[in-house]
Structure formats: C-alpha cells, structure tokens
Symmetry: none
Subunit: 416 residues, 2 copies
C-alpha cells in the first residue's frame, strides 16, 4: 500500500513551523510496510483542503491528514471532511467525556466550543485523544483508508502509535521496511566512518540493507535500514550487520533508537545500586534536568547543586576559595573539587561536575569561550577532563551535558 | 504572486530527514510578498516529479524545487526538468570552473560525474553554487517563474538569499505580507478566545488581517498577519490590532516572536537589579537550565538547589522535617519553605520553588500525578500556587517550569 500525508495549516505555509509530523508518520508507516508516495501541505482554506483530499484519495491507498482540528474558527478540517465524505456531524459520547475529564482536571468548566470538539463526522471510527480535546477520525472505504488527526505533534503521535500502526500491522503487507538506529557519542563522523571502513564488508550493495550516518550535536547516529519479505527476515539481516558494526565501534554506541543517554545511565545506576549527585556551573541545571527526565530517577539521583556564582561554589560545595583565586573557576582543580564536594556533601557514590565558559562573552586567549572541565568523583578516584564545545551557548550546554553523562557511562562500565 | 514549493527526495518520504527547507523558503518568499499556496514532497521517480511539476506550473505563479540535483544515479531532477521544458543539456562554463575549483581545493581531480554537474538545461539562467558543485536553474516564462536548487540546506539557502529574493524584491510586488506573533501563557486557548471575543471588533473580515491561535504546551501564541501594499501599511495595521488585543489580554502576553520567557525575565531582573535563586524538586533543574540559557544570566542568577530527596530538602534548604512529615513533600507548606529557604540561604532578592509529582507513578487519590506546588518568596511575602500539569513527565516539567517563570514575571510586574 502507498500513502499520502497531508498537512493542513497556514503556520506551515508561512514558514512559522517546521513540519516534523510528516517524517514521523512516514517512518511509522514504513515500519508496517506502507510506502509514502507524496506529502502535501495546504493552508486553512476549504477549497485547497478539498482539492488535496480529492487528489490524494484518487491516487493512494492510505491518506493521513494532520492539522486544523482545534476549536477555533480557523480550524476547518472537520468541516472539509464532512463535505468530502458527504456526512453530517454527530456527538461521540466518549470524546465528550474526554473533553469534560480534561477540563475537570484543570478545575474549570468546558465551554461550548470545547464540547463541540466531541462532534465527529458520522460513519467514522473515532480515534480518542489521550492528551487533548480534539479526537481523530478514521474511515475505511472500499479497501482504502483515510485518517485525520490533530496537528499537535504529541497528540498525533499517540494516535499513530496506539491506533493506526497496530491497525495496519494486523492487516499485513507484502514486505516490510525496518530501521534501526545505533546512537554513538564522543567520536566525530569522519573518525567513525574510518573505523567502520568499507560497508561492503558488512553487506553487499544489493542486499536491501543501507547504512546512513546522521550527525547531530549530541553524537552521530548510525541508521540501518532493511527491506525484506518479513519482519523476521529484516530483523535478522539488521542484527547481523549490527553485530559486525559493534565489533568495530561498539564502545561508542550508547543506545538504540530514540533512547537518551540519561535513560541508559539511569538503568545502569539502578542496576548497580549506585547513587548520584551533580554540581553544575556552566551547564546550569541541564544535566540534572536530563537525569530527572527518566521516570524513577529518585531511586538513584539525590540532588544537584547549580553553583553559578563563585560564592555558591564555596558555600555549597566547599570549593576552597584559594583554588578559585589561583586557578580560576574554570579549571581542572575547581571541577575536581566540585565533583568531590557534591559527592561527599550528599553522601552519594558518585559526583559529577561541570565548569566552563558558555559564552557568548567571558572568554580569554588562554580560556576561550567553549572551554569546559568535566569532573568525576567516586570513592576511588577524582578526576576532570577538558573539552571545547564551541561558541553557541545552547549547543555548548547540550554537548557538555552529553560529555558529562558519557564520562559517567564509561566509568560505570569501566570502558577504556 | 502565489508559489508552490516542491521537495524531491526518497530520504524525505521514508522519514529519515525532517524537511526544514520548506519553512525557510516560505518565510523568505513571504518577505517579498509572495504567498505559498502549497508544499509538495515527492520521491526520486521521474513520473512523480513530472506530475508534481505539471500540477504546480498549472496552478501557481512561482514554482521552487529543491533536491535531486546531485551527481549520483538517484538524482534525476535535472533530467525531469529537461523533459518538462523540452530542452537539451548544455555546458555552463562558470559552473564547470566552480566544480574544478572545489576539487582543486580538496587536492583531487574531479571525475566525469562531477564535471557533468556543469551541464545545465538550455535556456535557463544558472544560479551558481557558492558551497557545492551542483548549480541551480532559473526559468522565466510568460510571467511565471521556475527555479530548481540542491536540497542541501546551506547550498539552497545561499541561492535563495543571494539570487531569488533579490530578484523578486527588484520586481516589486503589489503587496507585502507581515507576521507578528504574541506569546501568551497561563490561559487556555478557549479562554483566550473568549476574552478576545469577536475578531470583527479588531478588524473587518476583508481588511487583509488575520488572527490565528497556535497552542503549545508552554502557552498559546497569537499570530497576526497583515497583507498590505507596503511594509509600513502592514506594520501600522498590525500595530493597531495588537493595541486592541493588548487592551483585552495584555497581561497574558509575555513576549513577541521567538523570544522565550527566560529571556524576558532575565531582562526584567537585570533592569530592576534583582537577584534570583531557585529550589527545584519535580522540575529537576529545568528552571535553572532555562534561566541560564540567557547570556549574561550570571548577573542576576546566583544558584539553584535541586533537592530531589527529602533529606536534601532539609539539609540544603532548611525545610523543617516536621513539615514534610505532616503535609508531605508535595504541599503548599513545603513549597513555601523551599522558596523561603533558598532565598535566605543565598541572600538573593527572590526565591522560587517547585515540588510536585511528575509521574508516571507516585500519585494518590488526594495527590494525583501532575500535581505541583510552585513557591515564591521575596522580602515582603512568601506564597505557593497549586497546578496540575498532567501525566506526561517531560511535558509536566516544561509546563511547571513555565508556570514558575510566569509567576515570577507577574510578581516583578506587580500584575493582578
């Protein structure tokens, strides 16, 4: 089956919003053997929407629409769907209860325009919205499928994952396309490519397998794709190539798929029954924020002290004033004293720390913007490593937090 | 004039790459008065490409194509263009010299497939590529315009900025389109819509002004768009409507355009010469992370104490153990004690705090997942407000951090 994805919204046509929904939906459809033949974006005008429905419905087996299902006057997708399928609106009781439940949780009464969201095109299967008030609609007509969902990414995602993909997976298909992403960090793309070498030693050119390098500020992802007659066959092919890749660059691979480093580390800390505390200066709380993104992090994460001022480094972490005076706040000595200080003060097994110059100003010839010292302390050792993460403030923080978590991962695994 | 943007590439249709080119091009076109009517993405197959050209060329004044101009076998956009305009390939001397120069810089000889990139469709104006070997093509036919550019974002961007936009700007246009976004927080979309009321009292339906509501977890953005004969006229029209909107809902508007709440607050704190400290439990460092995203935040931000464990709340913030025992760690009393504790310990003007249940587990009937108390303390008052931000852990943290920063904004501005 081949699909068209239609995105509706003026905010897309004026370039205010980058469309991330299309890529997400495409990848999901691929995983159940549905190719995407075209993606179209139109504005909040009924003639344009109707024309896109007609062109898609006459050419593709599956039409997935996002956007324009909100409660306000510029949301006209539902109206267009009723016109297109020549069907009236009816109340969906479950959607109505969902609206009321969401408003009850906020402690306010829903208004008429909110309750109106429970009006759905007659004849559709309603896709309930776990996170918002606008339900999705699903039509099956003569072996073809039409679904409309809100444009809000997380609302759409849960509908795709919980409703559409299970539905299409159950229907089956002639072949499947599987992707698997291995996430690496701490090694540049060109070094990784060189260590991996010629891909012919992993898979022949006509094997249906491809390997893509996808660099990002937090590391390079290696994406394996396999097209095969069955999930099992595709999975086997990917597993084989993955094993060969791991033999070469395994120590840089910290996670599979969408998993973040903080979740990997959380599992390791819980498994090894280790506790952690954090002392941050230049990363400003980002490391603690990431660690606490993992559910259950209270089992191993005790506290973080975000010591931005010099006084707070002295008062909170017991960093000797003389160290700051003699070596500067951004120094190996202070990074080590911070990691040691937070570990001993909080009585945890491990302490990590950051101190650096996030910029855009504050650098010198000797200590340029981008310089960061990352400290680590456990009962056996206290050390700090030096990095430079460039002059974009946010990217600097992200890369420094990643390097700190990666140092922690390597220490727990006793790598290198 | 109205444009269609066509993106070509299998990597887009499998969801491997998020299409950022479309939003960039759309925004650029708007700035010279060209609306975007549709965006289409197709794969590297000639029939699909030709059909997209035909549909675009028959409906729009401007057709901008990106992707599929590289040197390898799967790049077939040039071939499709020659078919479409029924024109042969000819050598472009300047493009050939560009290919040779780029290879000379790398110290290697160009291969035939590289020099072939200097073959361009006869009759086009060549858009030279400052950063790569693939030139762009520009056609002007009967008052309509067609351009094809590489899909590599920075190569495409320089062609748009250096060639297309100056070209269209010089042609002049009958009108321009300006956008202005007002960011609100702390009020749901439907309440905002009700307080704003009928848009006819702000602008008549045929005024060329539109108002769109764009909700997100951090608040609802109000986007004003004006279409007018000149920039000045559009700006005046937007200013007028903005003033009327502010009269109704001004207190919820915290920023314009892309500005984040943490930057707004940073300016306010610096201006009022106020210092800030933060005590976070459930937000886990996100508030501190956001505050330190603002360059120069060290002027007003002293420290944050991320007290995840109960012991750390007592040890770091001086929260009385009896409060935690009697009211629980997630309570008004503890939130107030945390904000007061961090403010007095760090000797700052203001302290803010969060304590809540980020989930997915740990909730009870009385204190469900999503519950959060946000504390505020200055020398005159200490208080805490109760919210519920739902059961998605990350979104909970984002919304709680936004509410804490918004409380701070309102206190500084002495709102309500």
């Amino acid at each position: 089956m081949v699909a068209e994805i239609i995105s509706i919204g003026d905010e897309l046509l004026i370039g205010q919003v980058v469309n991330t929904n299309q890529a997400f939906i495409a990848e999901q459809l691929n995983s159940v053997g549905i190719l995407v033949g075209r993606m179209t974006t139109v504005g909040d005008r009924k003639p344009d929407i109707l024309r896109s429905f007609e062109q898609a419905w006459s050419s593709y087996d599956v039409v997935l629409v996002t956007g324009g299902l909100g409660p306000t006057h510029d949301d006209i997708t539902r109206d267009a769907i009723c016109d297109f399928f020549k069907t009236p609106l009816v109340v969906d009781q479950q959607a109505l209860e969902n609206v009321r439940r969401i408003f009850a949780r906020r402690g306010v009464e829903p208004k008429k325009i909110n309750e109106d969201q429970a009006m759905v095109p007659s004849g559709c299967t309603v896709i309930q919205n776990r996170y918002g008030t606008a339900p999705g609609y699903f039509f099956e007509k003569e072996g073809r499928y039409f679904a409309a969902m809100p444009g809000v990414p997380f609302e759409m995602k849960s509908m795709v994952e919980d409703f559409l993909i299970p539905f299409f997976a159950k229907k089956g298909s002639d072949y499947v396309i599987l992707h698997k992403t291995l996430k690496t960090t701490g090694i540049p793309e060109s070094f990784l490519a060189e260590q991996i070498g010629d891909t012919n030693q992993y898979f022949p050119a006509d094997s249906g397998i491809t390997l893509a390098f996808l660099p990002s500020p937090l590391g390079v992802r290696l994406r394996l794709s396999a097209r095969a007659r069955s999930s099992d066959e595709a999975k086997r092919a990917i597993d084989e190539v993955e094993a060969k890749l791991r033999a070469k660059v395994g120590k840089y691979i910290y996670a599979i798929g969408d998993e973040e480093l903080e979740h990997v580390i959380g599992k390791m800390l819980a498994e090894h029954k280790l506790t952690l505390s954090v002392a941050e200066s230049c990363t400003g709380g980002l490391i603690a924020d990431r660690i606490t993104n993992a559910p259950g992090s209270s089992r191993y994460f005790d506290r973080a002290l975000i010591t931005y001022s010099n006084e707070s480094k002295v008062e909170e972490l017991g960093v000797p004033e003389s160290l700051i005076r003699d070596f500067g706040a951004v120094s190996r000595e202070v990074a080590e004293a911070m990691a040691f200080g937070v570990r001993t003060k909080s009585n945890t097994d491990i302490g990590i720390s950051t101190t650096g110059i996030a910029g855009p100003t504050g650098g010198t010839a000797e200590k340029p913007v981008g310089l960061v010292w990352i400290g680590y302390s456990d009962k056996n050792e206290t050390l700090a490593l030096r990095f430079n993460f460039g002059d974009d403030r946010r990217r600097f923080k992200e890369r420094a937090s990643q390097a700190a978590l990666e140092l922690l991962r390597r220490k727990i695994l006793k790598l290198e």
